[in-house]
Amino acid sequence: MSTTANFPTTSQGVFLEKDIDTNDMVVNIGPQHPSTHGVLRLITTLDGELVKEIEPVIGYLHRSKEKMAESRSLFQYQPTIDRVEYLSSFFDHYAFVAALEKIADLHVPKRVQYIRMITMELNRITSHLLWFGTYLLDLGATSPMFYAFREREKILSLFEDLTGARMMYNYYRFGGVVADMPEGWLDKVRAFLDEAPKRFDEYEAIVSKNPIFLDRTMGIGIIQPEVAIQYGVTGPTLRASGVNLDQRKANPYCCYDEVEFDVPLGTKGDCYDRFVVRMQEMRESLKIIRQAVDNMPGGDTADLNKRRESGDETANDVELQTYGKKINLITYKPPKGEAMVTVESPRGFLGCYMITDGTPKAYRIKWRGASFSNLSILPELMRGRLFPDLMSIFGSIDVILPEVDR
């Protein structure tokens, strides 16, 4: 191998000079590798420093969530779907309960919808924060992870107050939520909302103009919008390419049509745009949460309880309950039907396709994971790129392997 090789200085697909005669080398990455965010195996064929072909091998985390639904009643199955995508499991639950609410035509009170909206948006922040910390860790920066986890812990503490768990919430129910917010919970959320923008400024001060970070992300891993759609890429990864597709705006579910927010869009579709889009999305989420907290029907639980004690009949309105119509969770048999619900999860379209046949169990439940489609674009992105860009690109599309394998 010639040592006078003029190695490319950028990663813009500059190939090595022809006179270098090297054999292809196959490098196996994973399945257990800290940068693969789970258990992913990448069979990489290298030509020197350039990636010729990359083949993701998935399935190491396959837990047969769809098969499990066949042997469990819907309520029995519900705790296990937290594990479909464990970093943002409120979205799993929303897709699941919304599918059944559509089939059974269950009424969901407004207060419940607002609680769901707050929790989902908080969950989006936790998910993006975790991505932020680990992505920077992939790129070699250690401290941002500590900062990101600090804020994430605060949100998880809010979740713990609300649901009793920090990750596996199991909080939504068909037509409602398990329990109303604890008294004073909204004030805690408000305190977080006041504090969070300052923290996000800190992150951006550390990272977003750092020259090493810019060199590793700007112009790397450009996804053209048409290619992204062909590969089924959704979520912030698609929006960074400039495609304005956000289900919260496009097909409003829950109460997203009652809040004002913007959809951050990228222009070039490189890793840096994806970073910027996610950072802005967190601020937009804060906006949504603030509006939802301020417009919460019934206000804080303490106020609502006082109104109820003083005999105010309007406080017992159905829109202020935690259940529209309480169903017997043990023996509930949904009517026959089918529904496909896609929600805008932090990674894109998270879909739950449910077919019920009148028994307590679902006939078929199909999970559409956003990461599954998002990961499939990786071979296309890596072809002809430099090997060190692999983790930069792979990290930026924010794949979570449990969702890929389900």
Binding site: I58, G59, H62, R63, S64, E66, K67, M68, E70, S71, R72, A99, K102, I103, A104, D105, I229, Q230, Y231, G232, T234, V243, L245, A250, N251, K333, P335, K336, G337, E338, A339, M340, V341, T342, F349, G351, Y353, I355, D357, G358, T359, P360, K361, Y363, R364, K366, R368, F372, S373, S376, D405, R406
Partner: protein
């Protein structure tokens, strides 16, 4: 890789020991013998159907899509594990096929917007009404599936450029694939159903690249063979897995997977 067995096994035990009511779990005995899975690649244990190679599963009835859709829904309550008669569905179940034979079949649903569009362009879609979420459903004959998908993607009136998912469904008499489409231009949704003939469907990989992995997943879990797919291999299960786990008649008969009761 035997995780789903390890999870599901105690569930079955529980339903026998603890739970007093019969659960609709014991569905396998009701299955007719001829749809039993050939369990090994040597095909030695498979009694009647001497099937040569792995993809050639016992051929389910080759039926036209419409007939099979009716049949699948009609055969379903009788094949169900529960003995007592079913409660009539309360909400308007959006299924086109009649639920019971003795009932008066509801009138066939009006063709929706995209069914009309396809009809106007020479395709023969079977409108199935809307699902519970208001998504239009149509059934397409496998022979025109690929062309219709291509048309739906390219036509200015539809622009379904995003394939959200491919969901396999085992209706016990036939295998079905449900394609959920989305338009990034008009934000409309559409569900296309296609019933596999001899477990075979045409691949739509040439229409949407993302169908590559989705079809591999459906092949892996249901055994639907997508003809024209460039590399139809298992994707979630290990490459040497026997059988297709999401089929309703699937039983773990792999001698390597022995549940270890501790």
């Amino acid at each position: 890789m035997s995780s789903e067995n390890e999870i599901d096994k105690p569930q079955e035990q529980q339903s026998e020991t603890v739970t007093p009511e019969p659960k609709a779990e014991e569905q396998q005995p009701i299955e007719p013998k001829e749809v039993k899975e050939p369990v090994s690649a040597e095909a030695g244990e498979a009694p009647e159907e001497a099937v040569a190679e792995k993809p050639a599963k016992p051929a389910r009835k080759a039926v036209t899509p419409k007939a099979s859709a009716e049949e699948g829904a009609a055969a379903e309550p009788s094949a169900d594990g529960e003995a007592k008669p079913k409660a009539k569905p309360a909400a308007a179940a959006a299924k086109a096929a009649p639920a019971k034979k003795e009932e008066v079949p509801p009138p066939p649903p009006e063709p929706g917007r995209y069914a009309q569009l396809l009809m106007a362009n020479g395709f023969k879609p079977v409108p199935l009404g809307n699902d519970a979420g208001g998504i239009e459903m149509i059934e397409l004959n496998p022979s025109e599936l690929r062309e219709a998908c291509q048309f739906l993607r390219d036509s200015d009136a539809s622009r379904f450029d995003l394939l959200v998912s491919i969901a396999g469904v085992d209706w016990k008499t036939s295998l079905q694939a449900v394609y959920h489409l989305y338009s990034t231009a008009t934000y409309q949704k559409l569900a296309i159903k296609a019933t596999a003939v001899d477990d075979k469907l045409p691949s739509v990989e040439s229409v949407w690249i993302t169908a590559d992995w989705h079809e591999r997943e459906t092949y892996d879990l249901f055994g639907i063979i997508f003809e024209g797919h460039h590399k139809l291999e298992r994707i979630l299960m290990p490459a040497d897995w026997i059988g297709h786990p999401m089929r309703k008649d699937y039983k773990v008969e792999d001698p390597r997977l022995v549940w270890n009761e501790r």
